[in-house]
């Protein structure tokens, strides 16, 4: 009995020490909330960054930009926030929740993507084909890629004709997954996802002319809670650097000419 309690005390002391040590090293860890379209490029950027900063602990969470913005307003523990729509971080900045200026990091593109049809030759007008029963887009209500998809469909004059075929993904990754699983025949997704290793080998895509929709201007901020986090500053600088930008270009992001 005595031995057991002694052991428990030792474990407890060790746990306490570990927590204290961990807290002391808090600046070596950051959590990034990023729009789902960044999944592939940002994963690569993080790997590249870690090759020169082996001690850095970087946690990346992908999801919908709107949700992250709401969560940050409610005090979510994210240190850097990459949004597929720059207006979200701009709003957070105005609300005093940012520790940096809003940095533009790229302009996204939307594409028609399909694993069952030769999407490479498709245009938005082809979506009226009765053989296409379901078309997946991200939810235009809060997902930036969904908003742009809606604008493009309206500009092409097909919105009214295909509206009944639309299914709405919670974010752009779920939208792609609806098509990938075969439950929708075609989807309007992010070019960066269509170029990713998974989807590239399963289907083909056609760029949707960017004159049909507002630009998908994307931006990031360092959040207020990370104001003193040196790793967050270092990583943000790295993302703006040459190597990271090359990765972004490879995934189809048009780089912002002027940093706003």
């Amino acid at each position: 009995m005595r031995a057991v309690s002694l052991f428990a005390v030792r474990v407890l002391i060790f746990a306490c020490l570990f927590v204290v040590w961990h807290t002391a090293h808090a600046e070596e860890k950051i959590t990034i909330a990023a729009a789902a379209d960044l999944k592939f490029p940002l994963d690569e950027i993080v790997v590249l960054f870690k090759s020169t900063h082996p001690a850095a602990q970087i946690e990346t969470i992908y999801g919908s930009s709107g949700k992250f913005s709401t969560q940050i307003q409610q005090g979510a523990p994210y240190d850097i926030y990459f949004s597929a729509d720059i207006s979200y971080p701009r709003l957070l900045y105005l609300e005093g929740l940012a520790a940096s200026e809003v940095q533009a990091y790229g302009v996204g593109r939307i594409v028609l993507w399909s694993p069952v049809r030769d999407a490479g030759k498709m245009t938005l007008n082809d979506l009226t084909d009765p053989a296409i029963r379901k078309i997946a887009i991200a939810n235009p209500k809060h997902a930036p890629y969904g908003k742009r998809a809606e604008e493009a469909l309206k500009a092409a004059g097909v919105w009214g004709k295909i509206k009944s075929k639309l299914v709405y993904g919670e974010n752009i990754a779920q939208t792609a997954q609806y098509v990938q699983s075969g439950n929708a025949q075609v989807g309007i997704i992010a070019l960066s996802l269509a170029l990713g290793p998974e989807l590239a080998k399963q289907g083909s895509y056609a760029l949707i002319p960017d004159k049909l929709h507002q630009p998908l201007e994307q931006g990031y901020i360092i959040t207020k809670r990370a104001a003193d986090n040196s790793l967050a500053q270092t990583f943000a600088r790295f993302v703006a650097g040459k190597e990271a930008r090359a990765i972004m270009t490879r995934y189809g992001f048009v780089l912002p000419d002027a940093v706003k």
Binding site: S69, T70, K134, N139, G182, A184
Partner: protein, 227 residues
């Protein structure tokens, strides 16, 4: 920012009620024989079947949603079946949600029924048999009146649990107005779009609904002890 429900909200509420009603009826129809069998059988299969029925209680809705999305897709067994039958694919349809909800809420109907069936004394059934009552007659004149509290509990829980469904719907629903955009999903969309006023109204509605449902259940049906 109107403080009342928008047309889209009302449509979501209506859809939710419709889904829950259809699912509850189906669950009572298929849940009753399952519960009866589970309550009366001495078969070795009682354990495994009971466990399968109860699985949705412990399973994360995402697991059910993921499997259903794949199974009901064009390459999945359910999807191939529905395509052969000429129904088409079930994800993103009301019928698909009904199937998902039936699986998801099954234990909430079967378990209360099973409990109440187990409480029906063998003698009551034997007496009915002695009086030459047929099996359906016995069921409607003996079992049903005795099991009434169980049916009330099962219906209320099945209905309420379907109303409270979210994860599965989000994964296989595709968020289509009047088809799959139920109230819980509509609230999620409001919050994501930072429409807090609308989210508050719908959420408060759900809260009041849940409270009233459980209040009715606990007030009028004190766990069926007074039999």
């Amino acid at each position: 920012m109107d403080s009342t429900f928008s047309a889209a909200d009302l449509s979501a509420i209506w859809l939710t009620c419709k889904l829950a009603t259809v699912v509850t009826i189906i669950l009572l129809l298929i849940g009753t024989p399952i519960a009866w069998w589970l309550a009366r059988t001495r078969s070795w299969w009682k354990g495994p079947v009971g466990a399968v029925v109860a699985i949705p209680i412990v399973l994360p809705p995402t697991v059910l949603g993921f499997y259903l999305l794949v199974a009901m897709g064009p390459h999945g067994p359910l999807g191939q079946l529905t395509q052969t039958l000429g129904i088409g694919l079930l994800p993103f349809t009301f019928a698909g949600l009904v199937i998902a909800s039936v699986l998801y809420s099954l234990p909430f109907v079967v378990q209360p029924l099973q409990n109440v069936f187990e409480g029906i004394p063998e003698r009551a059934l034997e007496t009915a048999a002695t009086l030459r009552a047929s099996a359906p007659d016995t069921f409607f004149s003996v079992v049903l009146p005795l099991a009434k509290p169980g049916f009330l509990t099962a219906s209320v829980l099945g209905f309420a649990h379907t109303v409270g469904e979210f994860g599965v719907v989000l994964m296989i629903g595709g968020n289509i107005p009047e088809q799959t955009r139920v109230a819980s999903v509509q609230i999620y969309d409001h919050v994501e779009a930072m429409e807090y006023t609308q989210a508050h109204w719908l959420s408060a509605g759900m809260l009041v609904f849940s409270f009233v449902v459980l209040l009715v259940l606990y007030t009028f049906n004190p766990t069926g002890k007074r039999r």
